[in-house]
């Protein structure tokens, strides 16, 4: 088991190094001359040369890559051109809001997706199956930014039931100040027993979370359906059927557990995908997280910030996949032996 983990971690580190090199290529090699971007179009040749030296562009390429790697490892992810802050600290400030949003979205996705997938598998080929499959495929075909705008139009504009701006109501926050522990308003207000803030932050979370949940819900429902159907065809299930167990028991007891295994592996993939989708959604909801940071940075041509967010999410994705791999190997011994 330890050999498996060590092997996987080593592979993961190799991939992370590759990821950093790739982002280096995107950030430094492709745009042509970063020094010109740094000093602007009216710089003198002397200023340009000095900028090139400051940015380390006069050094050979392998040396630049090593410097870049060393910088990433030691926490120097560059300075954001827009906010003038170190990118890493910007990321740290904005990440909790996005994590709160994506976690809420994933929760909703699992809450809806798993039962729908089970329903679909139970009545495979009949009306409920077709219905669920349609809903699931609409979920994965949905342009998230459009869903966000449409939901705002319906629930805020027309029905006036849900708020659409920010993580909580600023008036409520002024009246009931929130202690920041995790910087996630829903969690913090729950922990502190600050009920007005809890209500405010929860209602503000609903619409964005639904938007973020659409794609994962579709994926999870389809995955559960496929996995359960595959399990139902396996020998051990046929055995239980031959033994005379009622279909209901077979479904709930023998088919369910093995069927949920692939769902775990898909969660990491879908979490990262949802995190990237926040780029499209947060600005619409005035949500102050990584997504709006990335969208703003893109608008402002703030390359260090965009690369910083890219690196952050890519590394997170590698780590998440690693964790899922190890958990799966723990649960299913056959994986370790491969």
């Amino acid at each position: 088991m330890t050999r498996f983990i060590a092997h996987r971690v080593a592979l993961g580190l190799l991939v992370v190094v590759g990821v950093v090199v790739l982002t280096f290529v995107i950030a430094r090699v492709i745009p042509g001359d970063p020094a010109t971007n740094w000093v602007g179009p009216h710089a003198s040749p002397v200023q340009l040369a000095r900028a090139r030296h400051t940015l380390g562009l006069d050094r050979p390429l392998p040396a630049q890559i090593v410097d870049y790697l060393r910088g990433i490892v030691s926490g120097d992810w560059g300075i954001s051109i827009h906010t003038k802050q170190p990118v890493l600290s910007d990321l740290g400030t904005r990440a909790p809001a996005s994590i709160e949003l994506v976690a809420a979205g994933m929760f909703l996705a699992l809450l809806a997706g798993i039962p729908l997938g089970l329903l679909s598998a139970r009545w495979a080929g009949r009306a409920p199956d077709v219905g669920v499959r349609l809903v699931a495929v609409v979920g994965v075909s949905m342009p998230v930014f459009w869903l966000a705008l449409i939901l705002q139009l319906i629930f805020f504009q027309k029905l006036q039931v849900l708020p659409v701006s920010g993580q909580y109501d600023p008036d409520v926050a002024a009246a009931h100040p929130l202690q920041a522990y995790t910087h996630m308003p829903v969690v913090d207000s729950l922990v502190a027993g600050n009920w007005p803030m809890f209500r405010s932050s929860l209602t503000h979370l609903v619409l964005p979370a639904i938007v973020v949940a659409a794609y994962p819900m579709g994926v999870v429902a389809r995955m559960v359906r496929a996995s359960v159907l595959e399990t139902l065809g396996e020998d051990h299930v046929r055995m239980t059927r031959a033994l005379g167990f009622p279909e209901r028991t077979i479904f709930a007891h023998f088919a369910l557990r093995p069927a949920l295994n692939p769902v775990v592996s898909v969660i990491a993939l879908v979490f990262a995908y949802a995190l990237v989708n926040t780029f499209l959604v947060e600005a619409i909801f005035d949500w102050n997280g990584l997504g709006s940071y990335a969208a703003d940075s893109i608008q402002a041509l703030d390359t260090p910030a965009v690369i910083g967010v890219t690196l952050f999410i890519a590394i997170f994705y590698v780590v998440a996949n690693l964790v899922v791999d190890i958990v799966q190997a723990f649960v299913d011994p056959r994986i370790r032996l491969r």
Partner: protein, 274 residues
């Protein structure tokens, strides 16, 4: 043939979009509006008989623009998938068949590309290039091919060990001939399934890039760009956002349904228990 309502509807709608893309100049009531024509006096008109989708902030007919947008989205999808196949499949089958260091290098390189969620890498690439449809297509294509290489490689690995390949070698057939005549045709099925599933994905990715300002620029009527252009006005002029977004949804939906149907038919491991 089993009547699969989802697959059939998907095929019908997908064919409809293809026809719209091909016959756009004949179908659009105001073809010039899809370009740089402006009619400031008829701006912000709500949907009507003359303008089924209404008009935008400079009076352009949205219906015509959405129709021409079909061409752009489907072209991007075709180019990206063609690129991914042309680059990915040969690399994949060579790596899978020969194994060894070639295979290791390809696996590690694709590992790195696949370590990024799809949209993210395309976004990062597009953000350092000048925004345009061509550059957005390039960015998406460069992030899309690794998965095809992986698929082809997986198939090639399993085929390379088969007895009939061994007998080909025993007969003295050269590697290139074996690859072309035997490995390639048998590796293609999962790639076809993946390609049909990916059309929807590329459409969504391209729309997302344009929405963020990294793809098509005005006056190109790309669907994602149309939604972002309509966003400032959407509380009052709701049609500016609704119809282009609906086009994205229905197009992606149709091609995803087709892809699902193809996968259900072509993947032998899909045993539906009864």
């Amino acid at each position: 043939m089993r009547g699969n309502p989802l697959l059939v509807s998907g095929l019908v709608i997908a064919t409809f979009f293809l026809l719209v893309a091909v016959f756009a100049p004949l179908l659009a009531p105001y073809p010039a509006d899809a370009g740089s024509a402006t009619h400031p006096l008829s701006s912000f008109l709500p949907p009507s008989w003359h303008h089924p989708f209404g008009t935008d902030d400079v009076g352009r007919d949205l219906f015509s623009r959405v129709i021409y947008g079909t061409r752009i989205s489907l072209t991007i999808a075709a180019v990206v998938i063609a690129f991914s196949c042309v680059v990915g499949i040969p690399l994949g089958i060579v790596a899978g068949y020969f194994g060894g260091i070639v295979d290791d290098v390809l696996m590690r390189v694709t590992d790195v590309f696949l370590a990024f969620p799809a949209l993210l890498l395309a976004l990062a690439l597009a953000s350092v290039l000048t925004p345009s449809v061509a550059n957005a297509t390039l960015a998406i294509a460069l992030t899309w091919w690794p998965w095809y290489a992986r698929l082809a490689r997986g198939q090639a690995v399993s085929i390379a060990g088969r007895p009939y390949i061994e007998s080909c070698r025993a007969l003295g057939l050269g590697s290139f001939r074996i690859l072309l005549r035997h490995v390639l045709p048998n590796s293609v099925t999962p790639v076809i399934v993946q390609a049909s599933l990916d059309v929807g994905g590329v459409i969504l990715t391209a729309a997302a890039l344009s929405f963020l300002g990294l793809g098509a620029q005005d006056p190109t009527p790309e669907w994602g760009l149309l939604v972002s252009q309509g966003e400032p006005y959407f509380t009052t002029q709701w049609w500016l956002v609704t119809f282009p977004g609906l086009a994205i949804l229905v197009a992606a939906l149709a091609f995803n349904l087709v892809g699902d149907g193809l996968r259900d038919r072509l993947d032998p491991r899909r045993v539906i228990a009864r």
